[in-house]
């Protein structure tokens, strides 16, 4: 594993390279392009539609008006899209890479592991199908809410979106690290953790009791990915600067925990390696 310094220029060059490869992957034919683009769109939209239908039927959900719900859904779609754009090809499902012995493909590259983890999954073509619906929902609901965002609001919006992406990735990496110790059993663990988050993200959680709500803000941080930041950004509940700063702080904590588990797992992997490359492993 290389540990030399890595410049932003090199990072940009790698993103450009992987963007080109993603384009080639999708441009194999119209059938492939259509299927991939449509699939991501349908899956992402379907995840948000249940909440949308409820909000449409009841003209809002509890304290949330219909435009506020649409903003929440747009925000959730935007976060999902960013994760898909930057961490496709199983970089958001890292347990698959680890369990299948594919982490070695990254470790042998002459660059730091972190650089490979933030660049190799870049898929701006195949992963961006949610961009238009997310942007539409955010802009349209913003107009309905008569929002006149200040520069501070935009700064908070950008910080919150980035924090939400970090929390998603941290949750995935913390769970995915289990595959270092149990590669076969935990190879698909990130599918379950991903489903868990994506199923729960689009719902406003105001009606939940203390224990359930605490769980969804800590153990399974689905509430931190769209509900909490949207509440703060739209002022659904009285908001202080402490609450506004809570999300970036939580992202930092989750990232630290994920980095700790992943590093420990990597150290263990350094001693054991992947069973896929042993005499009886199927990659021999």
């Amino acid at each position: 594993m290389a540990s030399s310094t890595f410049t932003p220029t090199q990072l940009g060059r790698l993103w450009r390279l992987y963007a080109g490869m993603d384009l080639l992957y999708i441009a194999r034919g119209p059938g492939v392009a259509f299927t991939y683009y449509l699939a991501e769109l349908v899956i992402g939209a379907a995840a948000a539609t249940a909440t949308f239908l409820l909000a449409a039927r009841f003209d809002g959900i509890g304290a949330w008006s219909r435009p506020q719900i649409l903003f929440l859904l747009g925000y959730a779609m935007l976060v999902r899209m960013l994760v898909t754009v930057f961490f496709s090809y199983n970089l958001a499902h890292i347990s698959r890479r680890i369990g299948r012995g594919q982490l070695d493909h990254l470790l042998i590259q002459p660059q730091p592991l972190w650089a490979a983890l933030v660049t190799e999954g870049f898929a701006p073509v195949s992963g961006s199908s949610m961009l238009a619906p997310a942007a539409f929902l955010l802009i349209w609901s913003g107009q309905q809410l008569d929002m006149t965002p200040s520069a501070a609001w935009w700064a908070l919006f950008v910080v919150d979106v980035l924090a939400s992406v970090v929390i998603v990735q941290s949750f995935e990496y913390a769970w995915g690290s289990v595959a270092f110790w149990a590669p076969r059993a935990a190879e698909e663990i990130n599918s379950h953790s991903w489903d868990m988050l994506q199923t729960l993200i689009p719902f406003p959680l105001d009606g939940l009791s203390g224990l359930a709500l605490t769980s969804l803000l800590t153990i399974v941080p689905a509430g931190l990915i769209a509900w909490y930041p949207t509440r703060v950004l739209l002022g659904v509940a009285p908001v202080s600067w402490v609450e506004a700063a809570a999300l970036p702080a939580a992202a930092l904590l989750f990232a630290t925990f994920a980095a700790w588990t992943f590093t420990r797992g990597l150290r263990h992997y350094g001693r054991t390696g992947s069973s896929r490359y042993l005499e009886y492993g199927h990659r021999r």
Binding site: A39, G62, S209, S215
Partner: protein
């Protein structure tokens, strides 16, 4: 000493082996955690939405809560999935062709085995904790409870037909297995009424979706259980979809079977 012994039936053995394999990986515990959290969130959501709108739909708040809980208790049966996709992915379907057993029956046995584990480890505990969640899990009447069982069986058969059709489409159009599976799951979750009762969809969408085959997989049995619809109409719609989907599914599968075999299973 005489020991009770299961009948020496290949399908039972297959189901038993599939059930044993369920606990091979820890993912199933995460799935249960997800399902529990999902039902907690949905119950809270309904209370939050309907607290001031008790008479805003065909179901009372208690009815909607029962619908939501029962949908989760029988989630596996209301959204039928066999190991067909996995067999495509791993290229192991050819092994199933070689066994002296019917393909659909094999897949069904592999599906039913894990259901038993799921029922014991998740569904029964969820039913038991229903009073703690403030939900009455009982059907509106014993008669509707009996009709629910019939409707659930029909829903499973409709789901199996859809599984066969989807499998044939994947092979016929040569599309990525998991991509099609994800699209189907996303669409079915919305159109079947497994997540939200169709009666609460806006703009008359629920009435429209109720005519689609997806509704025969979840909405029909759940609507019978909670008296949200006419049982005879719902059962009739399930029978119609069975009569349509099975012959079509078998024809489509047979038409694409050779292509599948030529790809090596």
């Amino acid at each position: 000493m005489l020991r009770p012994r299961l009948p020496d039936n290949a399908y039972l053995k297959t189901a038993s082996m599939a059930a044993a394999a369920t606990t091979d990986h820890p993912g199933f515990l995460l799935t249960y955690a997800l399902r529990l959290l999902r039902v907690l969130v949905l119950l809270a959501l309904w209370r939050y939405v309907l607290v001031d709108r008790v008479n805003s739909g065909p179901l009372s708040l208690a009815g909607v809560l029962t619908y939501t809980l029962i949908a989760e208790v029988f989630a596996e049966q209301l959204n039928v999935r066999t190991s067909l996709n996995l067999a495509f992915w791993e290229g192991t379907l050819v092994i199933r062709f070689l066994r002296p057993m019917g393909l659909v029956r094999q897949l069904s046995a592999e599906m039913v085995g894990p259901w038993c584990i799921d029922f014991v480890l998740f569904s029964l505990p969820l039913l038991a904790m229903a009073p703690l969640l403030g939900v009455d899990p009982r059907p509106v009447s014993p008669g509707l409870g009996a009709l629910f069982v019939v409707s659930l069986a029909l829903a499973i058969l409709v789901g199996l037909a859809m599984e066969l059709i989807t499998g044939a489409v994947i092979v016929g159009l040569d599309q990525p297995v998991w991509l099609i599976e994800w699209i189907r799951t996303a669409i079915a979750l919305l159109l079947s009424g497994a997540l939200l009762p169709l009666a609460y969809y806006p703009w008359g969408l629920g009435e429209l979706f109720a005519w689609l085959p997806f509704a025969a997989m979840a909405w029909a049995p759940l609507a019978i259980y909670t008296a949200a619809g006419n049982p005879l109409t719902l059962l009739a719609s399930q029978l119609v979809w069975l009569a349509v989907l099975w012959p079509f599914g078998v024809w489509l599968w047979d038409a694409n079977r050779e292509k599948l075999v030529s790809h090596g299973g």
